[in-house]
Structures are given as C-alpha cells and as structure tokens.
Amino acid sequence: MSNEKFEHIANLLPEYVSGSLELSEEQRVREHLRSCTECQEELASWQEVSEAVNLALESSPLPSPHVLEAAWATINKENSPVRARSSLTVKLSLALQLLRSQLPLVRRKIWVASAVTMAIGCLVALMSTGATGSAFAVFAPIVAAVGVAFIYGPENDPSLEIALSTPTKPRLVLLARLTLVYGYDLTLALAATGVLVLVKAEIGLWSLVSLWIGPMLFLSALALLLSLLFGSTAAVLAAMALWGVRLVAETYSVPSFGAPAGAEVMDAFWQTNTILLPLAVLLLAVSFLCVSYSMALTQGKES
C-alpha cells in the first residue's frame, strides 16, 4: 500500500468515527480498513479518544434553568426602548417617503385649479355683502371634491403599472394621495377663510369654517368613492350635480310661495356637520374597502 494512500485514509478516520463522512467516502474507508492493519490500529486509537471525549462531556453539568429567562431579560432591557424608537422613526420616514413619492403622481393641474378656484371664491366672498362669508362656503367643498375625484384610478395614473408591481398596497397609495390633496385643499380653504376674517371683521373664524368644513369633507368623500367605482368624470359630474341641487334648494329655502318640497330638509342636511362628518368618515371607510377590490379588477382588465 502506498504511503500516500495511508495518509489520506488516516486523515479521514476521525470523521469516520464521528459519523460525519459522506456515504461514498465512508464506504471507501471501510473497504480500505479491511486490508490495512495500520489503519485499523489508527482507527482503534481514534475510537478510544472519541469514547473518552463522550464519556467526559456527557457527565459535564447542564445549564441552570434560568439561563433562558436571563437571556430574555437582557433582550428586553437592551431592545425595547431602542426598538420602539427606531421603529417609530422608521415608520415616520417611510410615511414621508411615501407622501413625497406620490406627490408628482397627482395631476399637476389639480394644484393650480384648486388654488385658482379657492382664490375666486375668496374674492367673491370679499365682494359680496353677506356678513357670514357664505359665498366662500359655496366654493370650497366643490373644489376639494373635484380634486379628490382625480387622485386615483387608471385614467389618472401614469405610473399605475409600476404601482401594481410594487409592494406598496393600493390602500396606502390612496391614503397618501388623499392626505396630500385633502391637506392641500384644507390649507387653501383655511388660508382663504383667514384672509376673509382679517378683511371683514364681522365674520367669525369658526362660524365660517363650520360652514364649509362639513360639506367639503362629505362631498369629497363621496367624490372619492364614486371615482373609485365609476371613474373620475362620473364622480365630478355627480358631485357638481349634487352641489348644484343644494345651491338651488338654498335659494328656495327662504320660506316663500312655491318652494319645492324637501328644499328645507336638504338645506338643513347640508348645514348639519354632526350628520355630514360621520357620513364622510363612513364613505371614506367604504372607499378604502373598495380600493383593493377595484385595483384587482383593473389588474385583471389590463392583463
């Protein structure tokens, strides 16, 4: 037998003893052992060592039962404040990133059109003789409704394909854009109200805000839901029609001869924020439930 082969097989003996050789190698060693007395002796000495090691270690003590508990204590002590903080910062920065990423995807015209319309509303209210600024309250809701109607859906989204293939949930995208447009319109309306209050001292800030905030939120929420279900155009038309009817009803609501039935009821409805706001929230909730479903439909249609 060559010395080289002996060296090679002898090197494998510890692993042979411990059972960690691959099957083919194990067979090779076994075959070689049959004819090589040198390796048999070497094997016996390794077996002896292996047994001694097992004998010694098997009688070594076991860890006390509190080790795992102590580990948990360390983990909780080290991690909880750090983790909570980091996850909050991570969430905040993710939200900011999401908002920033959605900003360019909202139609640019919405920003300009909203601002212009709000400004017109503000001007009209300034020129009108009413002491409540109610003329402005006519503009704010419909501006927001039209803006919101265009934030979502395949006809408005140049990046839909990307959006569909990214892990960001449709709901999250909707929420981000809604936050942007709603926030923008809300800021505009508040700014316009501020201007009106400053210029016309007789107008109360909160009384004017309460005039438009309820209708604005409700009408936009309705427009959003309609845009998800039937498309932006339908939503805009419906919102405008509804708002138009309201304006007409308002003109008739002054008790006079020949007012259509229900005009007073309708006017009262649009002026009660306690009804409008919960309804707005409800519509928003339905929209969020709808969005995943309608996205799935879109996806199905496109493929």
Partner: protein, 205 residues
Amino acid sequence: MDSTHIWPTIVQITPSVDKRPSDADLLTIERIAAGDKRALEEIYSRFGKMLFRYILTLVVDRQLAEEVLQDTLVAVWKGAHRFKGRSSVRTWIFGIARRKVRDANRRRSLTTAGPGEAESLPASEPSPEEIVLLNDRRKQLAACLKRLAPPQREVLALVFFQGFSYKEAAEILGVPVGTVRSRLNRAKNTLQMFVQNSATEKKDE
C-alpha cells in the same frame, strides 16, 4: 461497578445531536428574525444543552459559561435577520458561542488581575496517581482531557461530541480545515502521552 463492558469494543459513535433537516432550523431562524419568541425557545431546547457543554470545554467557571450561553442566545435573537444560510444553523450558532467565549474571556481578563490562565489549568486537574487508579483506559483519557490546552480540547469536543465535520469545525473556529486536522492529531497524541506519563510516573515511585 466497572463500567468497561458498557462500551462495545468497536462502536461507530453516532453524532450526539440529531441531524434533522436543516430546513426546519432555517425556518426557526426566520421566525426569530420576525420576532417570534417561541422560536428562540425552540432553538434553546434544541441546542442549549450541547452549546453549554461545548462552552464548558473552553470556560471552566460554570457561572461564566452560563453567561456565555445567555450572550449567545441574545446574539442569535439580534442577529437572526443577518443569517443568510451559507452555513448550517447549528454551525452558525456554535460559531457565535465561540465568539462569545472569547468576548467573555476578554472581559474577565480586564476585570481580574491575571489573564485567563485559570481556564487552561483547572484546580480539579487529576494527579497522575488518580489517573492510574482509574484502571480503565477510556476513563484515564477522559480524565486527562482537562489537562489539554483549550484549543485541543475544543476541537475534540466539536468533532467527537458534537459530530461536526472538519469543514464545519473549521468554520466555527475560523481556521483552515488543515489546522483542524493537525490540531486533532496533536490533541490525540498529547492525550495518549499524558496517560503514558502518568503510568511511568506511578511506576517510578
């Protein structure tokens, strides 16, 4: 009772750790990465005992060994998301334990006056006389294990008690496979020499 007969003359020592499909371990680590506390408990009940015995081959002080085991668990919990499956879970965890032993020794050598000499020369080291009196070669070898230098004792434990292959042991130790082999040979020779010497010392008396 003489326990010699319980050792069959030729035994193929099966690895002490059962070799379940490593997929199951991988899944457990993924669960830990996701923050599943029960998964860490599973890892502990699967490897805790073996890890502790491995740690004890390097750290003689039992309390320190328990600290190292704790540190290892904490490190597994924190590092699970970084585990990429390049090695087996078992190899990975033993590698962590080894680094934690080194950290603990460093800590200890900073706090106590002397360097970690105590670990290589435990107080309970048997005298030659005691070894000869054991009257059983395996027991004699086992008793002499304590006199080995920790790196040699460690490699014996990894290969024969934990059932790691050379390659896995090399990964855990962070050395080439050739070093594992030579360390193993040296460990065996030293061990045999210890037994031999205690026999001659006894005779010379």
